[in-house]
Amino acid sequence: MQSTAEMEFTPQEMIVVAGARILENNKVVFVGTGLPMIATVLAIRTHAPGIIPVFEAGAVGPTLESGLPFSVGDSRTSSRASYTKGLNAAFELTQRGFCDFGFVGGAEIDPFGNLNSTMMGTFPDDYQKPKVRLPGSGGASDMASSCERTILIMPHERRRFNETISYVTSPGHLDGSPGARERAGLLGEGPYRVITTRAVMDFDPDTRRMRLIHTLPGETVESVQANTGFELLVAPQVTPFDPP
């Protein structure tokens, strides 16, 4: 990480800033645990106070003024919420179409924005005895199935960006073929942006493959590609993402 060593902020901080900036004000955002939660709180406290966060444990639209939650079911998500039931209620309203964005993390990703947060190893052979067992879907698969668009956020390491991933936990653009999501019965447009410790990507409208659009401070098109396990498409003009 020399490239960013001389700056006053870490890649971990920068990814949160980037995540926050991507979020539009006054939208309903289904917020996954971890980085999405941190970035959403930052967005609400800076340029997007009108964001309506939805947490899968049930809370809709809390002000989050009592602090950063440690869990998407945290007491801090219930205080000053507009609505708080349970998981079914949160996922039902998402399936209905109330969530403009799903903001979700993962451990491994492919060029079409399909995410793995279940296991490393060979599926299905090693499923019952995986090389590495990850936590599992949680609500990620549901967000990916039912939110109108999804924003994916994860550390940018070559081993996490693979042409083929061990297990598809959260469907993205599937095989990228036209209408693939609709044919599968999924709702929503699927992955919209990928935010990492090195760059921001979108998806090519025709091929639905991941495409580099912004580099984070200290990164270049080359350095990002070098840390990506598959060939990245590159937008006509890649612009640098300003530091905080």
Binding site: T33, G34, E56, A57, G58, A59, S66, G67, F70, S71, V72, G73, D74, S75, R76, T77, S78, S79, T84, K85, G86, L87, N88, F91, Q95, T118, F123, P124, Y127, Q128, K129, P130, K131, V132, R133, L134, P135, G136, S137, G138, G139, A140, S141, D142, A144, S145, S146, Y167, V168, T169, S170, P171, L174, R181, E182, R183, A184, G185, L186, L187
Partner: protein, 331 residues
């Protein structure tokens, strides 16, 4: 056998036979666990990750010892870790055969090394679902339906290893998932307040606790406050678990500790980290530390009150105070 708990027909019959009258159901935790949980049962675990986890019940289950349990939950944290850890340190005394789940870890507090140890060594049978899948499966069970339709996990590999079926919707012609209901043998749940009949008030997220209680053949509830029926039902709309869905009511203050319980206490992050560190040592081949922890905190104590007594009063007050900042109010 397709159904891992009760089949829809068995679940209906169990409820029809049951005495659903309004009666005092207060028991000791020992009596409750001894009476309502059996070897081989499918046990639904309430709460969500480290929110309102039924820790006291999990400890008592491990102390009691059970064989070949199936654990069903959406997202689990410390309660599941305590059960899994019990199997890791005393496999002949306590064992889990299978888990039906969406997530087993600790969110901001990290992965579950207990889960990694059990799964990566192939010691438990896995069936992955999503959070909505598990929640909707309990809901279907609570509705007396054999299945409920859903969009997820369409397009994912979850479909390839679970019992869900895909069908073309007879109204729209588009694919839809049918999730088989979950009717567990027992649901174990911690709530903020209950009356002696079993009416429960939950603060903050209900998680999937009401659905679990209505779906299960039997339900054990522990509560922070055991209050009169009159007080509890003064606001009937706050009641999310009706008494006839509950079989045992146990008054256990701090019953979700070191996980958090809205209006009562926030997480004990340090203790969760301590347990996590020992579990990680176990996963790396050094079980001694976790064994010692169980001897000390679980097997070595007569009841959950003794576990709570291990914590300095000022630490418990600290968690109560943090929660007061999350939900400020006058006594």
């Amino acid at each position: 056998m397709f159904w891992t708990g009760l089949s829809p027909d068995e679940a209906r019959k169990a409820l029809v036979r049951k005495d659903k009258s309004k009666r005092d159901k207060c028991l000791s935790l020992k009596e409750a666990v001894d009476t309502f949980i059996k070897d081989g049962d499918n046990v639904a675990i309430g709460g969500f990750v480290n929110i309102r986890q039924p820790i006291a019940i999990a400890h008592e289950m491990v102390r009691h010892g059970f064989r070949d349990l199936t654990l069903s939950f959406q997202s689990g944290g410390m309660a599941i870790d305590y059960l899994g850890g019990g199997m890791a340190v005393a496999p002949d005394h306590f064992s889990i055969k299978r888990v039906e789940m969406a997530y087993w870890a600790h969110e901001s507090f990290g992965l579950s090394s207990v889960f990694r140890y059990l799964a990566e060594n192939g010691l438990i049978e896995l069936e992955d679902w999503s959070n909505y899948n598990m929640s909707a499966r309990f809901k279907a069970g609570a509705m007396g339906l054999p299945f409920i339709p859903c969009r997820s996990p369409l397009g994912s590999d979850i479909l390839k290893q679970c019992r869900a079926k895909v069908m073309d919707c007879p109204f729209t012609g588009r694919p839809l998932v049918l999730l088989p209901a979950s009717n567990p043998d027992v649901a174990v749940i911690h709530v903020q307040a209950a009356d002696p009949y079993g009416n429960c008030i939950i603060r903050g997220t209900d998680a999937t606790c009401p659905e679990m209680a209505m779906a299960a053949a039997h339900t054990i509830v522990t509560c922070e406050q055991l209050v009169s029926h009159e007080l509890l039902t003064r606001t009937p709309k706050d009641v999310t678990i009706p008494f006839f869905a509950v079989d045992a009511v146990v008054h256990v203050p701090f019953g979700a500790y070191p996980s958090s319980c809205r209006r009562h206490y926030y997480f004990n992050k340090e203790h969760i980290a301590t347990f996590h560190a020992l579990a990680t040592r176990l996963q790396k081949g050094h079980p001694e530390g976790l064994k010692a922890y169980y001897e000390d905190y679980v097997f070595g104590v007569k009841e959950f009150g003794d576990f709570i007594d291990r914590f300095p009063v000022r630490k418990l007050l600290e968690e109560q105070l943090s929660e007061m900042e999350n939900f400020e109010r006058l006594a």
